[in-house]
């Protein structure tokens, strides 16, 4: 069971309760919530916020591919995966991504959650423009996209 969405912050908020609602199941004994937030320091620069840009169609496609691959790799029964990523401006401490997974057992949930975030980092076309205390801003360099 999979839910994916890009949250356009000009229209709506990213909310943890949507993840809780989606993955709730009496068949699962373990739930993991990974929440990515904007931190205050990067490369010795004081960060005040990040603007996220995304290729929406490719992002959703990559989430679906990662989910399908995880099913083949782990073969967990009755797992649920919820992935939402924001686009737009995010202030310090605010949420950029929620990955929620529910599995039968805790080891499965940890493995699945870790796999999803690591694959997103490698192959999901999202870009960050950091904004700094001195009013400068810059696009982060990133890594070439890994195609599936």
């Amino acid at each position: 069971m999979l839910h994916t969405k890009i949250i356009d912050l000009t229209k709506e908020k990213i909310e943890i309760f949507n993840a809780e609602k989606f993955i709730a199941s009496s068949k699962c004994g373990a739930s993991i919530y990974f929440i990515g937030t904007v931190r205050d320091l990067n490369n010795d620069k004081k960060v005040t916020g990040i603007t996220y840009d995304s290729h929406d169609a490719l992002v959703i496609k990559s989430f679906e591919e990662i989910y399908q691959e995880s099913k083949g790799k782990f073969k967990f029964e009755n797992s649920a995966v919820f992935i939402e990523h924001v686009k737009g401006h995010v202030k310090l401490g605010e949420t950029s991504i929620i990955i929620a997974v529910a599995c039968k057992h805790r080891a499965q949930a940890y493995d699945l959650s870790r796999f999803i975030i690591e694959e997103i980092k490698k192959r999901t076309p999202i870009w960050k423009k950091e904004h700094y205390e001195n009013k400068d801003s810059e696009w982060l360099k990133g890594n070439p996209i890994k195609s599936s």
Binding site: I97, P125, W127, K128, G142
Partner: protein, 89 residues
Amino acid sequence: MKIKLELFGASREFSEKNYLEFSLKEKSSINDLRNEILSFIDKNFKGNNNFKKLVESSKFCSEENNIVADSYKITKDQKIGIIPPIGGG
């Protein structure tokens, strides 16, 4: 052929719009498009080295939302996305 190049990430600095437009010869490849973009940078940004590196390290996405190789032949007018190195999450 007319190509509408959709800009993402750092490539958004190439234009105040969200896209650039290029005219390519029939059966041009992604590599030809990349060279056109590099010429655009030479002409409009005095060969800005960071911009050129960005183009050289970018991938491209077809209208069907597939990442395509440099040898991919563009056969019709279409939108193509430039996919600079990524860093989400």
